[in-house]
Each structure stands twice: as structure tokens, then as C-alpha cells.
């Protein structure tokens, strides 16, 4: 079984389209997952929401991210740039789009895989998994063999044996990392629409259960164009700049 997981699209149309094309170039996956944060930061929320709805109608899974929640519920407990983008987004999308975001679930389970945007530990509180401790708390909040999260925009894999501390691994771009028969795994997907690991190329996760492999696939896209649109839309300049440097 092949699974493609797209996290943190953040209203970045160019990255989203490039990634979807790359996904289908590799043959249609058996499961397509949108792992939250469809909107926020980027200039194309309507396009991304409608595309997501379309993919869901074709069977894709989609869960809620903190930016989706903030836009849907008009929350303001975020950093300045994020807050600004939330308001900007709310002014540009229709009630039906808001409704779509509000109805997204916090997590979904499919066979032995749990999909949740931030962490299985108190998903609605949106904690960040940036170290072994938070990874351990996430894994102990679920009994799924595979937990997939996003939210940090930095790819990582944590391997866990029962009763032992998880082992952190920073997967290499486009190099398959092994999945173990014996272990549980927490996979943190890199971001489609706003990578922060120093590589501006969009990132999505490809899982192959037969081959016992997971790959962080990198897809270069026209981030100059996205940055230009961010500028033109009157969104904060840093949101365009960070797409160029991948931070």
C-alpha cells in the first residue's frame, strides 16, 4: 500500500499543485492525506480549500490544523504574522469555505495509522513535537503503529520500542528511511507550503507499506511567484521571504 501525506499547505497554490503533480507522477497512491493547515500565511486560500474539497470527494482524508481552526473560529491566539494572515484569509473566503474548515476532524485513524496535525497528545492544544520528550508523550497517547503529524514544518522520524525512549532520526531528502516491524513510528511531515528546514522545495511524505519505507519527497516549485503574490496581496513581506530561504 502506498500513502501520500501532504501537511501544512498554507494556501500556497504553486507548492500544492507541484506536489500533487509529483504525487501522481509516482502512480496514484492508495491513500491521500491532507494533514492540516490548508490555509494561513499564503495568498490562495480559496483555491486550496476548493481543491482539498475536491480531493476529499475522491476519497482523500483531511484533518484540521491550528490555522484552519483559527480562521474558522476567528481566534487570535497566534503570532503577529499568523494573526494578520488569519484576518486577511477570513476577509477573502466565503461562509461555505469557513464551514468546510470548521467541520474538519482533529484526527483520523486508518487501519494502524493515526493522522493528527500537531500531536496525539491533546491534539486541540496544538503542542509542537520538537524533541524526544514531546515525541514520547505523543506516542504514549496513542496505540497506533504509525502516527503522522505535521505542524513543525521540519521532517523527523521517531522510532520507538516498548519501554524505551524513542530514537530521533532526521530523514534525508528523497532517500527512503526504513520502517521497522518491531517498532512504533512517529513521522513528522515536512511542509508543502512553507518549509522551514532550510530547503525551500516543497515536502511531502510517501509511505510504502510493502517495502517498509517512508520518504520525504522534495518538490521544487516556483516560490518566487508565491512570494510575489504575497507581496501583491499586502500580506507581511517576511511570509514571502521565508519561502525563498526555506526557514
Amino acid at each position: 500500500m502506498r500513502i501520500a501525506i501532504l501537511s501544512d499547505i498554507h494556501a500556497n497554490r504553486e507548492a500544492f499543485d507541484a506536489v500533487l503533480e509529483a504525487v501522481h507522477e509516482r502512480g496514484s497512491p492508495d491513500e491521500l492525506v491532507l494533514l492540516g493547515d490548508l490555509v494561513g500565511y499564503g495568498p490562495d486560500p480559496v483555491y486550496v480549500i476548493e481543491k482539498a474539497a475536491h480531493l476529499m470527494a475522491d476519497g482523500a482524508l483531511c484533518i484540521m490544523g491550528n490555522h484552519d481552526e483559527a480562521v474558522a473560529l476567528n481566534l487570535s491566539n497566534m503570532t503577529e504574522n499568523a494573526r494578520f494572515a488569519v484576518q486577511w484569509t477570513r476577509e477573502r473566503i466565503a461562509p461555505a469555505h469557513l464551514d468546510f474548515l470548521a467541520r474538519l476532524p482533529l484526527s483520523l485513524q486508518s487501519e494502524d495509522r493515526l493522522y493528527v496535525h500537531a500531536s496525539a497528545e491533546r491534539p486541540g492544544k496544538w503542542p509542537y513535537i520538537r524533541d524526544v520528550d514531546s515525541a514520547e508523550r505523543c506516542l504514549s497517547a496513542s496505540d497506533a503503529r504509525f502516527v503522522f503529524c505535521g505542524h513543525t514544518h521540519i521532517p523527523a522520524i521517531y522510532y520507538a520500542l516498548p519501554g524505551r525512549r524513542p530514537v530521533h532520526f532526521q530523514p534525508l531528502d528523497n532517500v527512503a528511511a526504513p520502517l521497522s516491524d518491531l517498532r512504533r513510528h512517529l513521522v513528522i511531515a515536512g511542509a508543502v507550503g512553507q518549509p522551514r528546514d532550510g530547503n525551500p522545495a516543497a515536502c511531502f511524505v510517501l509511505v510504502d507499506t510493502q517495502r517498509h519505507e517512508v520518504t520525504m519527497v522534495r518538490v521544487p516549485y516556483d516560490h518566487e511567484e508565491t512570494a510575489r503574490k504575497i507581496q501583491a496581496a499586502g500580506l507581511p513581506g517576511w511570509l514571502g521571504m521565508r519561502l525563498k530561504i526555506g526557514r
Binding site: I157, Y159, R164, V167, H168, F169, P178, S180, D181, L182
Partner: protein, 483 residues
């Protein structure tokens, strides 16, 4: 825990005969009609509640063996899931175990060098595949007809895979007699660690003694950071200085002074006359020096130096510059020199093999045998050294080779392959009708080299190019000499 008897079948593998093995796994000769090579099954001992390192070692070995290829590793056949019956099925490699040979040490020098060459070749092949063995010892090396074959990747590390084994353990992993100082400190990613173990093996083969014994404690293993073993020639006077120099350079605690790549060890073992034998200063240790040393706080990490990966990734380790000096050092030779300097500059510890070919007309005729031939050879060697002089390389970074051959291209290719050269720089004369017809040295080198090749050509204005073409058409003898 499951016990297996001969005749049992696991996933289509029929167990035939139990082989002697260590404490981590049982080994079985096995058959399976699906594979056309002799098989052995390695089945880990997985007692419930047993040592978790057995599982971790099995996991690491399976992940790494699957990804390895080539003659210096057993072929991987299949593996069984840890969740069901765990096993690794691989090729049974026939040959002589180094463990059987090491008992007969000290061995004659040429035998030590030839075994060292085999192991260095295998290590170079392994390191090229981004794997460090980290447990090189006589029990894990088989000398087969096809060369040395390395076994047991249970402690090995793949640069692109998570180190699940290392992350779980805080104790040094390896074999006390051969473990490198940086492994003792917990580092598990440097190919130079295997070269340290190779040095220990060569030491043992040459002297009949293990350099550090077999310390059972952490403190005992750590001694090798501070105390050098007896020098090989103290134990066995028959060991030549060049071999001692190679062994001690493998075993240098400081990785900035150790060999960085197996290819370099290989090259030194096959070119003993080029090994730089450093005159080692006797340690000036008055009473005061000994006392200050006692109180000086040394950082263990500083002793073992920085990991070698920063250097190995910068550029090729061994550069071969092939230069045609038949008509003296001409403009093309100068251009080859400039390009060589650029390639060498990418890496601070790269090493240059200067090669020039003395053409012989027929096979068997060796011009160096008689007096006049000898002088031709020496003249060319002097010319070669003079050519390379502007590079100002220290003598341990450069070697000179006047090869006598019918075909310069074959001589260059042969040298490059046997010394694991990483980059060849070769000159090409301007194109001519005859050269196009017969093919040139550079064309053949480019077509057949196993590494990158820079072809250097003089930038000529069109008029000159035509002139050269006319000249070379009238002098067919120079056709092949565009090395």
C-alpha cells in the same frame, strides 16, 4: 525460544547443517531452489526478556545487508520478519577465514602486504556504499578467490539510515582488540574507524601480537587514546620501515594524521617505495615534562581529532595526473598541471599520483633493463618531478610513476583502477584526421575509466588548430602520445 533442527524449513529455506557461531545467532547451511548460490541462514537468538542488543544488531544487519552489493560482501538472499521468524539468508562464502591465518602470525612481509591490500580493497568498496563496518576483526573476514569478503554487519552504520543501535547504547560497541579510539568515545560514523582496525590487523599479522591486548573494561579500552602500542619493529625487526609507517598511520589516534581513505592505504601497500617514512622524534620527556603532562587536562575528543567526513566529501582523495613528457614539458603539460592544481585544491589532504608513460614498441621489450634504457627511465622520472614541482606538494601528498607500456591508455587505466583513483586529469592534443581514426589516449581513458576524468585541451585559435592538424598528419608516431 524456538530451536531448529536440521531438515526444518523456514520460508522455503531448508536447514542442512549447523555451523559454529557466536553468542548472538545460530548459523545454518541451507538450501533453497530459488537461489543459485550456496546459502547460509543466520537466525538471531531472541529470548523473551533477553538482551535487546541482539534485536538491534539483527535489525541493523538486515537493513544494511539488503543495500550492499559487490564481490566483497556476501550476497543477500532474503530475510524473515522480526515479528515472525527472524533470519537473514545470505550467500555462503567459501575461502580461508582470516582467523585461521592470524594464528600463524608473524607472517612474511609480502603476505602481510597482500592480505592488507585485499582488506583495504574490500573496505574501499564498503565505504563507497556509505557503510562503516565498525567491527573489523579476523573472524569477520574471509579471504576468498574473488578477494576479501567482509561478514557480520551487526554493528555497522549506514550514513543514510537511522543509527537505531547507537542511539540505544551508551557503552562503546566493537571488539576490544580492534576498536578505534573514537568508537571507544561513542562515535559510530567515521570510515576511518575501520582503517584503525585494519592497522591493528596488520600489526597483528606482522608482529604476531595484538597491539592493545583484549582489555575487558571501558578504562582498559580507553588506554589506547593515551598510550601507543610497542612499535612493530621493536617486536619484529624483519618488518620494513615502510610497512611500519603504514601500520602506524592507520593506527594514529588523531584522525587528522590517520589515513582518511582505504584507497590510500591500498595505494601505499602496493607502492612501498613511495611511502614516506617519517623520522619519528623520540619523545623529549624530562621529569618536568612528565609532571606537566600528568596535570594537563586533556580532552579525549580533541585527541581523536575531527571526523574525516568533512574532508572526504570535499573532493577526490587520489588524483592521477597523466602527462606526456616525451617531447619535454610543453604548453599542454603546463595546462594539465594547472587543471591538476585546481582539482587538488578542492581537498586539503588529497594526494597526487603523477604518471607518465614510457612507450615500448612491443610487448616484452623493457627499455629499463639495459643501461641506456635505465637512463631513459631516470631522465623521464626527473622530468616528471620537475613538471610537478610548481605544485609545491609535501612529499607525503605526491608520488611519481614512470610506467612502461605499449598502450599509454591501458597503463593509465590500469594504474587508476588498482589504486582506486578518484579523478584522472589527462591532456588531449588537438584533433587530427589520424587521431580521429585511431582513437586517442584521452578518448580511451574517458570511455573506460571508473572515475571522473578531466580532459585538458589547449585553447587554440582556428589557424593554429589547422597547423597542428597538418603537423600531426605528417608525424603519425606522435598520434598516441596525448596523455
Amino acid at each position: 525460544m524456538q530451536r531448529f533442527e536440521a531438515g526444518a524449513v523456514i520460508d522455503g529455506f531448508e536447514l542442512v547443517e549447523k555451523l559454529p557461531s557466536g553468542g548472538m545467532a545460530s548459523l545454518w547451511r541451507a538450501t533453497n531452489p530459488r537461489y543459485d548460490f550456496p546459502l547460509v541462514l543466520k537466525i538471531p537468538f531472541l529470548d523473551p526478556g533477553g538482551d535487546v542488543s541482539v534485536i538491534l544488531g539483527f535489525e541493523a544487519e538486515e537493513l544494511i545487508m539488503k543495500r550492499l552489493s559487490g564481490p566483497h560482501m556476501p550476497r543477500f538472499a532474503a530475510s524473515g520478519s522480526l515479528a515472525q521468524v527472524p533470519y537473514i539468508a545470505m550467500e555462503f562464502v567459501a575461502g580461508t577465514g582470516l582467523a585461521d591465518i592470524v594464528g600463524k602470525a608473524p607472517l612474511p612481509v609480502d603476505e602481510v602486504a597482500s592480505i592488507g591490500t585485499e582488506i583495504a580493497t574490500a573496505l574501499a568498496a564498503l565505504h563507497r556504499q556509505k557503510v562503516v563496518h565498525l567491527d573489523l576483526k579476523p573472524e569477520n573476514i574471509i579471504l576468498a578467490e574473488r578477494g576479501a569478503v567482509l561478514l557480520d554487519f551487526g554493528l555497522a552504520r549506514h550514513a543514510e539510515l537511522p543509527d537505531l543501535l547507537g542511539a540505544e547504547s551508551s557503552v562503546p560497541m566493537g571488539t576490544a582488540a580492534y576498536i578505534s579510539p573514537e568508537q571507544v568515545l561513542g562515535e559510530r560514523s567515521d570510515p576511518a574507524s575501520d582503517l584503525f582496525a585494519l592497522g591493528c590487523l596488520l600489526y597483528q599479522l606482522a608482529t604476531g601480537e595484538e597491539p592493545f591486548g583484549r582489555p575487558a573494561t571501558f578504562a582498559g579500552m580507553k588506554r589506547r587514546l593515551y598510550h601507543a602500542p610497542r612499535s612493530p619493529r621493536d617486536i619484529n625487526e624483519a618488518i620494513p620501515r615502510w610497512l611500519e609507517a603504514i601500520i602506524l598511520r592507520c593506527m594514529d589516534v588523531d584522525r587528522t594524521r590517520r589515513y582518511v581513505e582505504a584507497a590510500h592505504v591500498l595505494s601505499d601497500l602496493s607502492n612501498p617505495d613511495q611511502v614516506v617514512v617519517a623520522r619519528r622524534k623520540p619523545r623529549d620527556e624530562g621529569g618536568w615534562a612528565a609532571i606537566t603532562r600528568l596535570f594537563r587536562k586533556t580532552d579525549d575528543r580533541a585527541l581523536v581529532g575531527r571526523p574525516t567526513s568533512s574532508r572526504t566529501q570535499a573532493g577526490p582523495s587520489i588524483v592521477l595526473a597523466a602527462v606526456d613528457l616525451a617531447n619535454g614539458s610543453d604548453a599542454l603539460a603546463g595546462e594539465v598541471l594547472s587543471e591538476t592544481a585546481r582539482v587538488l585544491a578542492s581537498r586539503a589532504d588529497s594526494w597526487l599520483a603523477c604518471v607518465t608513460v614510457l612507450k615500448t614498441e612491443i610487448i616484452g621489450e623493457t627499455p629499463a633493463t639495459d643501461e641506456s634504457g635505465r637512463s631513459v627511465y631516470l631522465k623521464r622520472l626527473v622530468a616528471l618531478k620537475d613538471w610537478a614541482h610548481p605544485l609545491h606538494l609535501p612529499e607525503d601528498r605526491i608520488s611519481y610513476h614512470v610506467l612502461e607500456a605499449v598502450s599509454p591508455a591501458d597503463a593509465i587505466l590500469n594504474y587508476a583502477e588498482h589504486n582506486d583513483v578518484g579523478h584522472i586529469v589527462v591532456g588531449a592534443r588537438a584533433s587530427s584526421a589520424i587521431r580521429r581514426h585511431l582513437g586517442s589516449v584521452s578518448t580511451k581513458v574517458v570511455a573506460q575509466a571508473l572515475c571522473s576524468v578531466s580532459v585538458v585541451r589547449l585553447k587554440a585559435v582556428e589557424e593554429q588548430g589547422r597547423q597542428v592538424e597538418r603537423n600531426s598528419a605528417s608525424e603519425p608516431r606522435t598520434v598516441d602520445e596525448d596523455q
